[in-house]
Symmetry: C2
Subunit: 222 residues, 2 copies
DNA sequence: ACCTGAACACCGTTCAAGT
DNA sequence: ACCTGAACACCGTTCAAGT
């Protein structure tokens, strides 16, 4: 997102801290201790300054988070070799975005605050939209199809991250486990049938196979 | 989620406030002023009590939010007539969940804290999983397919809610608009091609048509 | 059993002043 | 131009005491 922060040509007092310092320290806190521990006060302390000094370099905490996401994406989104087959290219590009975000559990907080994603992801979006068009979709349908892929990907990450957080925080059996244990088979026959396998089944990572299904469905001529 | 809060048989001091009072007041604050304004202190004030009195009826704020989601779902998730055709039944049931959540913008905060959803949604899940099995998927594949539908649905809501919030908060052009305006057509030919139509295209509500594509893809025998 | 008051350990951000 | 200190207006939650 990084609105170019016009580097000042030393017209006044020399800056003691920079945007880069802030991002670097913020990255350290977030990766080492989690996004919850990132506060303006804590960051200022670690950087050896005061909370209000930060506000000369970032507009507010939300901008800081977006800056950190941008920094993370730039650092980790390296363009891979993509297959020549357009359908396969879509799957690989979407999976690349997915894997980067999935490896970054604090992303979820920012995802809902961010304008989708940084410029680093643009190349991947280009590949996906391009692949969809090569497969015969017109530009409008390609954009809509890309969005469906993005919704599926973002949803997978949000839900999985939430589930992981709950497992970490909670020792006692989840509410869902209780519900499934006492399921009335006459009212919910299908769910009762899979009740005892629900937890392991939903823990399986099926992102890619379902992504393929989604892409296949999007490319069907209906 | 509502762990049954064993109603006490007046063994000690009579309760001045109840779980129901708390939920009712919480619902009012959330619907009238948004989830951000719901604090334990504010809720206590509105209910005419003290913050700590609340902690005798709910474990913490997270439980309160889950209780409120549960309350909302129970109130609004009415079972509709579903079509006999299983494929169509899946689409209608998923759309019903989607529409209820989409009408409830504060849901997103809770979605990431909640064990998926309340018992009120279980009937819809049963219909979806049942429909998938009727269409020929074995139980395992049906559960996985249901999850893909849920990811897509949750993602759509999270991303759209975030986008709406940004539009509301921000007057200036979004970062994405700036990026698309200055897109290099030689590096991003496909995106450049749709750049000027990106905003209206992504604003279109295509949840149901893309859901159909997803369901079609999930039901393909591959 | 249920509620209260005071306190703990924090937040993000504004404002006015300093260098 | 950049930074500081103090203050504003809050948080969720714990603890010890009251009824």
């Amino acid at each position: 997102m990084s609105q170019p922060s016009a580097p000042r040509k030393t017209p006044g007092r020399p800056a003691r801290i920079s945007r880069e310092d802030i991002i670097e320290t913020g990255r350290r806190i977030v990766t080492e201790e989690g996004v919850d521990r990132l506060t303006m006060r804590r960051l200022a302390k670690d950087i050896g300054s005061t909370p209000m000094a930060l506000y000369h370099h970032v507009r507010d905490k939300e901008e800081l988070l977006v800056l950190l996401l941008d920094d993370y994406a730039t650092r980790t989104m390296h363009r891979p070799e993509l297959p020549a087959d357009p359908r396969e290219r879509i799957v690989v590009a979407a999976s690349a975005i997915h894997d980067v975000l999935a490896a970054c559990p604090w992303i979820v907080e920012v995802l809902t605050a961010d304008d989708l994603m940084s410029t680093s992801a643009l190349w991947f979006v280009e590949q996906i939209v391009g692949g969809l068009m090569e497969c015969g979709l017109n530009p409008e349908r390609a954009v809509h199809a890309y969005r469906a892929i993005w919704y599926y990907t973002a949803g997978e990450i949000v839900v999985r991250t939430a589930a992981a957080r709950r497992r970490a925080a909670d020792e006692r059996p989840t509410y869902r486990e209780q519900v499934f244990a006492g399921l009335d088979p006459s009212e919910y026959p299908r769910l009762a049938q899979v009740a005892d396998r629900w937890a392991p089944l939903t823990a399986e990572d099926t992102y890619v196979v379902q992504l393929r299904a989604l892409v296949d469905g999007l490319l069907l001529t209906r």
